[in-house]
Amino acid sequence: MSIPVLICDDSSFARKQMARALPDGWDVEISFACNGEEAIQAIKEGKGEIVFLDLTMPVLDGFGTLAQIKQQDLNAMVIVVSGDIQPEAHAEVMGLGAMEFIKKPASKDKVLEVLKRFGVI
């Protein structure tokens, strides 16, 4: 069965770029969200078993989204994909329950390595 993957980013270019970085031939059902609120909704609808999450977004940012996922005890493996590469941002998202942090733009190799490491692929 295809794995539901959610890509959440306010930029349509970034969403496209992220979708392209997913491993070839990986059996997934991709959904998109433009902000954290949409992401939470999609996760509740079962569309985000694995979530690629941006940090800087309007409405609800990535930090807030992670906090919501934790608070509402939602079932999602979150990989943060962000241009904010400051060590503090990295530490903060890991503290909020993110599985991994990938710097933007995400490369195919890096995404594959992370997914393999977590036994998803």
Partner: protein, 206 residues
């Protein structure tokens, strides 16, 4: 009579410029965060095609009431030229001086040094970041002081541009817990916009 073609950017192109700036400003912020040992608050970059005489409006991160100091630095690469402006509100300098442990209030020459140092880091890193994504190697000219402790309108007016339109990318950096506020403005020359649009289209293709 030849007519200059009207330059424009589509919504998809604007989104792409914004995302490219987002990645580049993150790299620049990381360097600044390490230099000052602080957390830099990242904004969403603002991308607009504007008339050069509307420049003041593009500097939305700085209040009119504040006096400012700023530098500009030209850049060029692969037929793409432009100018970077870095503008600080003057209250920033004491905090920067403290963070760099210079001790005491900054005098005008120390402020200039700080301004140049931060400008080199931020402008250099941003251009490198944008260049990497668009496959352009930018070289930078010497930084030029636009003014110290002046009114923002005067500072912007001090610079003369040969273009009427410019692609302006505004990045407003703030530092958590400190009174430091600076605006980085990347202005791409009118004749660079078409070249840039082509590069961006390439990225937008499937």
């Amino acid at each position: 009579m030849t007519q200059t073609p009207k330059v424009s950017i589509t919504e998809d192109q604007r989104d792409c410029y914004q995302e490219i700036s987002n990645v580049a400003m993150g790299q620049a912020a990381d360097l600044l965060a390490r230099l000052l040992d602080v957390k830099v608050i990242l904004p969403i970059p603002v991308v607009n095609l504007i008339e050069v005489n509307e420049l003041r409006m593009a500097l939305s991160g700085i209040e009119n009431s504040e006096t400012v100091s700023g530098v500009c630095q030209g850049f060029i690469g692969n037929g793409i030229s432009g100018e970077a402006l870095l503008i600080f509100n003057d209250t920033s300098f004491n905090d920067i001086s403290d963070l760099l442990k210079y001790g005491g209030a900054a005098d005008k020459s120390l402020e200039l040094e700080l301004l140049m140092d931060v400008a080199n880091i931020l402008i250099g890193a941003c251009l490198r970041g944008i260049g990497e994504q668009l496959d352009v190697g930018f070289s930078q000219g010497h930084p030029v002081v636009l003014g110290q402790h002046v009114n923002l309108n005067d500072l912007v007016a001090a610079n003369n541009y040969r273009w009427t339109k410019t692609l302006a990318i505004e990045i407003n950096y703030k530092i958590e817990g400190y009174n430091i506020n600076c605006d980085l403005l990347l202005l791409f020359a009118e004749d660079a916009i078409e070249v840039l649009n082509r590069k961006v289209n390439y990225l937008l293709e499937d």
